[in-house]
Symmetry: C2
Subunit: 79 residues, 2 copies
């Protein structure tokens, strides 16, 4: 079973990497850009047939390693 996990910075956390990308795009002439924020994306395949159990396992992975819960939010969705 395959899941997609999107990790984004919480909205009050500064995103210097996104800011650099934003400035670069504006300098390149793409001036309609209002804001850009960067995050991480994971595609996780779990060896488990039951969707609820599989999702729970992915959630454990996120909490234990992939996500810093203090500054980041995450969303798991089946693909």
């Amino acid at each position: 079973m395959k899941f997609s996990v999107t990790v984004t910075l919480k909205k009050d956390v500064l995103d210097p990497q996104g800011k650099v990308v934003q400035n670069t795009l504006i300098n390149m002439g793409l001036s309609d850009l209002k804001s850009i924020r960067q995050g991480k994306h994971f595609e996780i395949e779990v060896d488990e047939k039951d969707e609820t159990t599989a999702k729970k396992k992915v959630d454990v992975m996120c909490k234990k390693l992939l996500v810093n819960l203090i500054i980041e939010d995450y969303k798991i969705s089946k693909i």
Copy 2:
């Protein structure tokens, strides 16, 4: 108008970062993991009302800066 862009490595491209995460998770005892691949995620807000034009602008940003088309695929979706 807000879009979400997901950038992933093409399937034949090695993903050393994902491999490290995978090994770490397995060493932590999460043995049901079959595979994990890491990518990038962008949340882009564009100052443009028309959806088609806005999407086209995001596409230009991806092609010009955000995505390395030789080794990466990308997907744009409205949020």
